[in-house]
Point group: C2
Chain length 437, copies 2
């Protein structure tokens, strides 16, 4: 088998066999296949697509390029949730403790911020001392001790994906649904889970702006997971405005604490309950979605979710006092309100621009090696449909640099659209559900 | 400007600007752009195509990635010929001396064998002592001394093409007409020529098997050459069976000597006269193609072409005695006839298979670094339309290894198709002419 022949086959629209894909992925892992051949294959794959069988073979090969956790020694179902990413998308910080508090295991391997979106790992690291770089052994110990652990991808997990992902980032081959599916599913399946709930975002702040693209990706991921013997559901959820009101790392941790205290009830808390309910249902903890929602709400109202979060933070080296007093989280030096230029109703918020503004403030990376500022961000006071009076604050910017403030403010001002009438139709939070049988 | 954005633009079917293409090619030459980004761009380009303006920009950028010869100090027109490659395609060895003998300058930079096709440099190197690796200074000196010099691409000539070419070979991106055009034209224009005659092959032994693909490539190359201020013509010529009767390096030199002695008149000699005539016409040496053909025929019949070839061989370190006595060329240890399995007429010869058979005997390379056997090859006794009697030899194999003989013989036996009736229509030698104004 010659790599160049496999590249040519895909280039000409052919279907690679399971063995051919394994050969490619194994060569990627071992380093036998040079990057320039991998990137030509990635581009051919992006432009020609992959069949369902090819995607399954890719996922399987990437999954087995590294260690696959065997958590069968732990009694009970192992469940996880994955989001395709958005702005203010912080549900993992609520869901993981809430679901673990109800007795399921949540072995969650998360990612960092990408482009205009934030990442769970970056948010967790804004908690002083929190260590996301546990070894797999430590990961198991925390998981066994409290039912949940939150870490980053280790070198042992899907190393082929790690390499391909880095290449895709610099070769314009990120956007392939087939490659996205393989990348997500290989990492998630390596966690040794039984159940996976996928939160596939759509709208102006999502990677998949068009709903049909989100649905397509969701279908690929559900089918791939089911082929691998897992119970999988995908929720297509709204990312046409930031989720919740806080955007930024420490700010988002703060909002999650308010949600878990039961002090905040908004789209964020609603989505946390919805996704947790599916984890309970597919994890055989409840018999219906309604029952699942009740259980999730109960985990929050009883304070069990927050207590579990405090426990996780403690076990992973973080300062549990932060959970009781969010003022201990990193704070920006200055804040500045952005005033509404007119009176009326918020018709829309260009969501990606809010994410970019947060990055501009120092909350994002241009290169992988860049460090981020955990304290900066934006707190929205007005969201879609809200009434606003001229001069009233639309949001508050938390910043550490005057130069960056101006650029972020310009982006935010352009992001808000104000109309005299309220928007005619509300966008639903959940657009659709795929799989879940 | 970021390379990944240019890759994405092309991936999405966009047109790159002249500046963007220059940025990419300059980054290729300097090494600033890593191979994995180049190969992703190459694949996107192959699958999305390039506009005529992009091809011109690519050619120009690759041309100026290295040295462009200025031959204006030499009195008279500088003309060259380029073939897209085939089996038994040895016209350069006759044309270059014939045209130089008539007073034009032929600064010819050639290539090596590629896949199933032979290369001019490999053929020349079968002449004992012949040095194709002249520096550009030596190249100029030989050219000034005798009107012709035959060398390989030096490090100074189109280095961007050299790098991209090597990458294309291993990333399945050879077959893009746009990239082929840029590669050929940048190297040829770097020779400092006024006139270029392109021999674009079509048929079972050509890279462009289908005539429409050959015509498309020819149009791209002619337009690109004209945009760069050159006089260019492309002849679409037949490569559905080997050209002439000899296939193999030393064997092809031998056949060329017979042609230049006036001893052999066949499709090879006819094509040499045709292509030379176009070089004379566009080089303002004659007023009509007919006149050009007469002049070319005269250069051969007078012995001037052969004398010029002897002179070139001498100036480039080769043994001129070889030209007078082809028995001094490398010879294979053994020969074996392939007998006709039936009686009838040769309906067709799968031309690529003959080329592959010659490679199998040792005349080709699998990897760039491989050495070749100059002595092996095949001499055809029967070509399309010829009558053959069962048991009569179709061809003679010249070989140095019994193991390789068997595989080559099997390929050759499968390549010949014999029918009871002669083929109804003869394929013309020249299928069409593009440009040449």
């Amino acid at each position: 088998m010659r790599i160049v022949d496999l590249i040519r086959k895909k280039r000409d629209g052919g279907e690679l066999t399971r063995e051919e894909i394994k050969f490619l992925v194994d060569g990627c892992t071992s380093g036998a296949v040079p990057d320039y051949q991998l990137s030509a294959w990635l581009m051919a794959t992006l432009l020609r697509g992959m069949t369902r069988a090819e995607i399954a073979a890719l996922t399987e090969a990437m999954l087995h390029s590294g260690e696959v956790l065997n958590l069968s020694a732990l009694p009970g179902k192992k469940v996880d949730k994955h989001s395709t990413g958005g702005v203010g998308d912080k549900t993992s910080l609520v869901i993981a403790p809430a679901v673990a508090a109800a007795g399921l295991y949540v072995p969650m391997i998360s990612g960092r911020g990408l482009g205009h979106t934030g990442g769970t790992l970056d948010k967790l690291e804004s908690i002083p001392g929190f260590n996301v770089n546990l070894s797999l052994g430590e990961f198991r110990r925390v998981l066994a001790a409290c039912g949940c652990a939150l870490i980053g991808q280790t070198a042992e997990i899907a190393p082929a994906d790690k390499k391909l992902y880095a290449l895709r980032d610099v070769t314009g081959t990120v956007e392939s649904p087939a490659l996205i599916c393989g990348s997500i599913m290989s990492k998630k399946l390596a966690e040794g889970i039984d159940v996976l709930v996928l939160d596939v975002k759509t709208g102006s702040g999502a990677f998949m702006k068009r709903e049909e693209d989100a649905v397509h990706l969701a279908e690929l991921m559900v089918e791939t997971g089911v082929r691998m013997g897992k119970r999988v559901v995908a929720l297509i959820t709204d990312m046409d405005q930031p989720l919740g009101r806080y955007v930024g790392h420490a700010l988002e941790v703060e909002e999650c604490i308010y949600v878990m205290r039961g002090e905040v009830r908004n789209d964020l808390s609603e989505l946390c309950i919805e996704l947790s309910a599916w984890m309970f249902l597919l994890g055989d903890r409840v018999a219906t979605i309604e029952e699942g929602k009740q259980l999730a709400a109960q985990m929050i109202s009883s304070g069990k979710a927050l207590a579990k979060f405090r426990e996780i933070v403690g076990l992973q080296g973080g300062d549990p006092a932060t959970i009781d007093d969010p003022r201990l989280l990193p704070k920006a030096q200055s804040t500045r309100d952005v005033a509404s230029p007119g009176t009326g109703f918020i018709a829309s918020i260009a969501c990606e621009q809010i994410g970019v503004a947060s990055c501009v403030l120092g909350g994002g990376r241009e290169k992988k090696e860049d460090s981020i500022d955990p304290a900066v961000g934006i707190v929205l006071h007005k969201k879609r449909g809200d009434r606003v009076v001229s001069g009233e604050p639309l949001c508050t910017i938390h910043y550490n640099s005057d130069a960056r403030l101006d650029e972020a403010r310009r982006l935010i001002e352009l992001a808000y659209r104000i109309e005299p009438e309220p928007p005619r139709r509300a966008r639903p939070l959940v657009h659709g559900i795929i799989g879940g049988k």
